[in-house]
């Protein structure tokens, strides 16, 4: 398949120059590269600029509530494990309103791939601080600058034992699309936090700002993402140097394997027209 075969028909409502365009391109490339039909993918999103992405891709889409993409994605995947399920979400959507689902989805380890468009800001609601906004950043609400410690989602995910933790930069379309492919292929929950310039509201963390700081962890050929201690330390980096690429991996069994779901037909294939209640009735009589 070619990326263009995943082009959606809905007109794009993002600002010109927005980092989301790079992510959109990378998603389409990755889907094409993975070689399945549009019908076999499901993109789930919450609400925000990031969350509009599924409308711009030709494949199944569930665009739900702000903060609630992860539970929907997990429910859909468990109902039909043959779907390739991805989530496109924002830093507010995933780590703010949706924070509880995030930590528990990592633990549950259902085989989905989560792409967080991390612009360190609430874009759609016009520029309030998000959980990843740098300290000191001033907004209309945080008039004296953000005082909360920014959340480091990559470190958080490593600490939670997530089996696939990666960071990317939306300008690096090729690198990002490769990570998405890897994330989808990883059996279990995969996180890809993508540095995404918001040209309208984040005047600090710009293309240049990120560009000057990002480096790939695999530049160091010694770097082994399976090494947890090294990963924790790489994951902790933020500021002058920001690591990208696969920061951490492990081979923990996904939910589907642990529960035996992967050996059974998908729930949706089950015929429900005449379920035999006798065994249950007998047991309870």
């Amino acid at each position: 398949m070619e990326p263009v075969e995943f082009k959606g028909s809905d007109p794009i409502a993002w600002c010109p120059g927005c980092g989301n365009f790079g992510i959109l391109n990378a998603v389409k490339r990755a889907l094409a590269h993975l070689g399945r039909e549009p019908r076999d993918y499901l993109l789930v999103s919450g609400i925000g600029q990031a969350a509009k992405l599924p409308h711009y891709v030709k494949c199944n889409c569930f665009n739900g509530l702000h903060g609630r993409a992860l539970p929907v994605a997990q429910g859909a995947k468990l109902a039909n494990r043959d779907l390739t399920v991805l989530v496109t979400t924002g830093d507010g959507d995933c780590y703010g309103e949706g924070g509880n689902h995030f930590i528990h989805a990592v633990r549950r380890n259902v085989d989905i791939t989560v792409i967080v468009h991390d612009n360190q800001i609430y874009g759609l609601t016009k520029g309030q601080a998000s959980p990843t906004t740098d300290s000191g950043f001033e907004t209309k609400v945080q008039t004296a600058g953000v005082t909360l410690e920014p959340l480091n989602p990559v470190l958080l995910a490593v600490a939670l034992g997530c089996g696939f933790v990666a960071r990317s930069f939306s300008k690096d379309i090729e690198g990002l699309s490769e990570l998405i492919v890897e994330g989808v292929r990883h059996p279990g929950f995969s996180l890809i936090d993508v540095l995404q310039p918001c040209v309208s509201f984040n005047r600090k963390n710009t293309y240049e700002w990120y560009g000057e700081r990002v480096y790939r962890v695999d530049e160091d050929s010694e770097y082994d993402p399976y090494e947890r201690t090294a990963a924790l330390s790489a994951a902790g980096q933020w500021g002058d140097r920001i690591p990208t690429g696969i920061i951490y991996r492990n081979d923990s069994k996904p939910y589907e394997q642990q529960t035996g779901l992967s050996h059974r037909e998908p729930l949706i294939e089950r015929s429900i027209r005449n379920i035999d209640m006798e065994p249950a009735f007998t047991e309870l009589s």
């Binding site: 409502a13 665009n63 509530l65 997990q74 039909n80 509880n100």
Partner: protein, 569 residues
């Protein structure tokens, strides 16, 4: 009136009242007698004061009595606390040697519960089985039935434990020959082959029958045993049962499962359902079916975690922002719980909306011998496009405008096209729109048009004894049994009743026609503000002359209801 006995086992949490009560139920049913059992327990794991009460009768019974013929108390405090609940010719059986008992005027029968347990089994833990033995003997339940009951409850536990409890119960059965008799001996009836399940089990079985393969919830009394039942049958029926991190996750997982093509359910009690409000609204907007059980308990907030109330009616109807169709069912008994679970799935699927099942702790935890449901009486209807025809679909639009308001729902990956579901206002294709005309059209489709069909499929209110009734009781949900029996028992007036097992869309026309000529209407509700009464006024403009409300966390007994009816007529 059929002859009957009401017996109660009282004691602290942790003394095994629950197992003894269940064993007793099974023994009674094995003896061919009918029964109705309910539980009264506190929100704690050890200590306090709980009871398990069983009404044993020659005919089927559907509600509890106020006074007991026999109460057996596992400790002196409970004995004192329950003495007043013993009826006129009844008896309180307790272990007077364990401490002083304030029995008032109640006939106290001293029985060495703990000592017998200790001497037979080496520990006092089996005092509950002793109690079961005593109760069976005094109520005339055969020893074989007692054994059957205990074996059933301890099934799967280690042999030694089973043996100890059996020996304890048998010894007690023998010793209890010295206890006085309640003066009634019941005739064997036909209950032996019936199911013995509670309201929550009935709901879970209904869901399984309806093809629910995915269940996600967060524990909350009194809904938790639905999850336990689903988990119990998960292996056999190939279900996925997933405990969610919170109720918001639960409903959103369930929506994801429905969207993907499975049938799914969640349950909680009021607080959890309140948290699901936004998700219910999401179901409305995306037209994704969902089945939600609200096992009500007294509120607001944490309230009485283990008690009963019917005060979430307004919330069930109005929760969630904005306007969308939904159905709210309110089963009145175990049979209806099963049947309405199936209907809720059918309707949710057909109208692509939330279907809410309102039960309460009383129904959830009540056990009754029940006819094995006729699974064919409630048909499972599937309303997504089947796999076969899916292959031929072209230019699929998730939200096609149709005459019925229902847009055929396809399963992702079964059709060739991509499916877009959207929580924003959307076009027929499912894409975000800001267009005023599209909005108007979509609201019309989602709300007004679908409502026409849905209103044609309302569960009819059920009339009982209406002909010539001077007074008609009207209730919903778990008060069905108690209202019916009150109709039978109140002899100084002709009392009828109408029970609503669906409260939304409200059966306005049917109810109006039933009640239009009723001389006097009186609502019976387990809440303080009269939420059903308000619905009747709003939807039928009928005049409700009186209201019997109870909101102390306890269910109506038929005796209390009769007394309160008499006070009002």
């Amino acid at each position: 009136m059929a002859r009957e006995l009401t017996v109660r086992i009282a004691g602290e949490a942790g003394q095994g009242i629950q197992s003894a009560g269940e064993a007793l139920c099974r023994a009674v049913r094995h003896a061919g007698l009918h029964l109705f059992a309910h539980k009264d327990y506190m929100s704690r794991i050890r200590g306090g004061d709980n009871y398990f009460q069983v009404r044993i009768a020659e005919q089927p019974v559907q509600c509890p009595r106020e006074q007991c013929d026999i109460i057996i108390a596992l400790n002196p405090n409970s004995a004192s606390a329950h003495a007043a609940s013993v009826g006129e010719d009844g008896m309180l059986i307790a272990d007077a040697s364990e401490g002083s008992i304030e029995a008032g005027g109640t006939r106290l029968v001293d029985f060495p519960l703990r000592k017998t347990a200790e001497s037979v089994t080496g520990s006092t833990r089996a005092a509950n089985s002793i109690a079961a033995g005593v109760i069976c003997r005094v109520s005339g339940v055969p020893e074989g039935s007692l054994e059957h009951g205990l074996r059933a409850v301890f099934a799967g536990r280690n042999e030694e434990l089973v043996d100890k409890n059996l020996r304890a119960a048998r010894t007690a059965y023998k010793m209890a020959s010295s206890c006085p008799s309640p003066g009634i001996s019941l005739e064997k009836s036909d209950a032996g082959s019936r199911l013995l399940i509670d309201g929550n089990q009935a709901l879970a079985l209904g869901a399984i029958r309806a093809g629910c393969t995915f269940y996600s919830a967060y524990p909350m009394t009194p809904s938790t045993s639905i999850m336990n039942t689903m988990a119990h049958f998960a292996q056999r029926y190939g279900l996925v049962v997933e405990q969610a991190e919170d109720e918001i996750a639960a409903i959103n997982m369930v929506l994801g499962a429905w969207f993907a093509g499975a049938r799914a359910m969640t349950a909680s009690s009021g607080a959890g359902i309140a948290l699901m409000s936004e998700g219910i609204s999401l179901a409305g907007m995306t037209e994704t079916p969902v089945v939600v059980v609200d096992a009500q308990r007294p509120a607001p907030a944490t309230g009485f975690p283990t008690r009963t109330e019917q005060a979430d009616l307004n919330m069930a109807i109005h929760s969630g922002h904005g306007e969308f169709v939904r159905a709210v069912y309110a089963p009145g008994c175990i049979e209806q719980a099963f049947a309405l679970a199936v209907k809720a799935f059918n309707m949710a699927d057909k109208y692509q909306m939330p279907a809410i099942i309102l039960t309460d702790q009383f129904l959830a935890d009540s056990i009754r011998d029940t006819a094995v449901p006729d699974v064919d009486a409630v048909q499972v209807e599937r309303h997504v496009i089947d796999k076969e025809p899916s292959g031929d679909i072209k230019d699929y639009k998730r939200y096609t405008i149709t005459e019925s308001g229902i847009s055929p729902r396809a399963v992702p990956s079964w059709i060739h096209d991509a499916i877009y579901a959207d929580s924003d206002e959307h076009t027929e294709e499912g894409h975000i729109t800001e267009d005023a005309a599209v909005r108007t059209q979509m609201v019309g489709k989602r709300l007004t048009t679908k409502l026409i069909g849905l209103s044609g499929e309302i569960e009819e209110p059920e009339a009982y004894n209406l002909d010539g009734a001077d007074l008609v009781l009207v209730g919903f949900g778990s008060t069905r049994g108690v209202m019916r029996e009150a109709c039978d028992r109140v002899l100084d007036a002709s009392v009828g009743s109408v029970h609503l097992s669906q409260v939304w869309p409200f059966p306005s026309t049917a109810l109006y026609e039933m009640l239009e000529h009723a001389p006097k209407i009186m609502t019976v509700e387990n809440n303080a503000t009269g939420q059903l009464e308000d619905l009747i006024t709003w939807k039928t403009r009928l005049y409700v002359a009186g209201a019997i409300r109870k909101f102390d966390g306890r269910p109506f007994t038929v005796d209390e209801l009769m007394r309160r009816i008499r006070e009002k007529v």
